[in-house]
Homo-oligomer: 280 residues x 2
């Protein structure tokens, strides 16, 4: 799906993919920052725990967000496509100032919510200023094309990454998560090689990309974001490589960005964290 | 150590780092190619199994090379620094048309042979036209700076890679091996970040870089070579990041090169395999 049209008088809400494990560290900076964007004490957070098979994921995030002082935090426990017609949950989505999608299996998100009014509402709300975050599977689902599954390792292999349609809040990016922890550069490269229009965002755990309305990314967290830019690719063997063969890719640009660094997706330029000294 | 001066009338021999496991596949293309360079039936191969703790590594490579029809293949079983004074082995090194260094632990190579006449002889022979190959640890040792050990994962971490002096046949590269199989992009990036002068060569298993006298690399094998070029780095937090923090690196160039692709280290340009169709 493509992003909903943006009202020229209203900024799109932030899109905040998180690399996973943001709830497992003591200081939960990323969620605190998300809450601040969503209005702090006035924030109304709708939580979508559908990706998870654990019964307590929704209530755990309710507690996390309430612990950060929000006005309301409600888990919408969509388990089937029929659930998506619940009017009470739809009202909570519509009233939300922040929507947060938990981790689990991104194919549960796409198969249960894809093409429903819930996915449409999330997209429309984001276009009208509601901030939408997601962690792990919830990060992957945010873009138009998402990685459904793939092979580990740094070298891209033909057929080594499988794409599926996501919720489509952004059509500029392909997101991968647990990036360093699960060795996923190869599958991200392979995903981008299918069609080099998108920017690859590889998110380490406890690390988030805060993407503003101008498509500028700020890195928040203790890990790194690997930006993969294949727009200047001069050669790719993607179309001719046989299954499981490595893909030849010439001209990949890579930026490893840490807390405070900025990447402007429109100009495709990176700026270091202000705290860093310049390279001498 | 730096490379020995090259006689202007003689081409430097090939330098052939291999990513490991080149002996475990049925067709051993890489060793066959190495033997052809070294003279085929007239080839005299000196094998250095010092990195390995297995007693039969030397004899196994003798058999492999003899199976490829060479004129002579002799393992020089250096186990101690005292062994390096053996005149019979030095004579074999001097007569060799190809020298092959097996896998194991690169710190055994550097600690047992570093600074000895054996290391000097290997360097001098290469400068005078003898081809020198090495696999795994034997690949790492070929360059001036080698990765002694490091952490897995695609994101570079401060202190995540430790360098040690190698044999110094080339001072243009830092080599890493088992690249895809052991998830080593981060430690290669971190190694290059110390001083961005070198070109990073990440070798998948069963994949070799045939580096000719003009410092042009041809890829041979079933995997890929990841070329990491940090010469255009505009920012690095290497000097300021604390231990185990991710390193911010802006402006990394990456090429994933497969069998038949060429990388010219002097111009830092890559060419696709002739067999590949151009990107359309």
């Amino acid at each position: 799906m493509s992003p909903s049209p943006v009202d020229p008088d209203v900024d799109r809400g932030y899109i905040v993919p998180v690399g996973g494990a943001e709830d497992k560290v003591s200081d939960i900076d990323i969620l605190r920052r998300f809450v601040a964007l969503a209005g702090g004490r006035a924030a109304r957070i709708a939580i979508i725990p559908t990706a998870s098979m654990l019964a307590d994921t929704g209530s755990r995030y309710e507690e996390l967000f309430r612990g950060l002082g929000v006005g309301a935090a409600d888990a919408l426990g969509y388990q089937t496509r029929a659930d998506t017609s619940r009017a009470d949950w739809m009202a909570l989505l519509e009233a939300a100032t922040g929507i947060f999608i938990t981790g689990g299996n991104q194919l549960r998100l796409s198969t249960i919510l894809g093409g429903t009014d819930v996915a449409r509402m999330i997209r429309r709300q984001n276009a009208h200023g509601t901030h939408v975050g997601g962690t792990s599977a919830g990060a992957a689902i945010l873009s138009e094309h998402m990685i459904a599954f793939g092979k580990e390792g740094s070298t891209p292999l033909a057929g080594g990454a499988s794409l599926a349609p996501g919720f489509g809040l952004s059509n500029r990016v392909i997101i991968d998560q647990h990036f360093r922890q699960r060795d996923r550069l190869g599958r991200l490269l392979g995903s981008l090689a299918y069609n080099p229009f998108a920017i690859g965002i590889g998110l380490d755990e406890d690390t988030a990309a805060f993407i503003n309305a101008e498509d500028s990314i700020e890195v928040v967290g203790s890990g790194a974001i690997t930006i993969v830019d294949v727009s200047a690719l001069t050669h790719s063997s993607m179309a001719t490589a046989r299954e499981n063969e490595p893909i030849c890719m010439i001209g990949v640009k890579l930026h490893i960005l840490t807390n405070g660094a900025i990447y402007d997706m429109r100009t495709r330029t990176a700026s270091p964290p202000k705290a860093d000294k310049e390279l001498t």
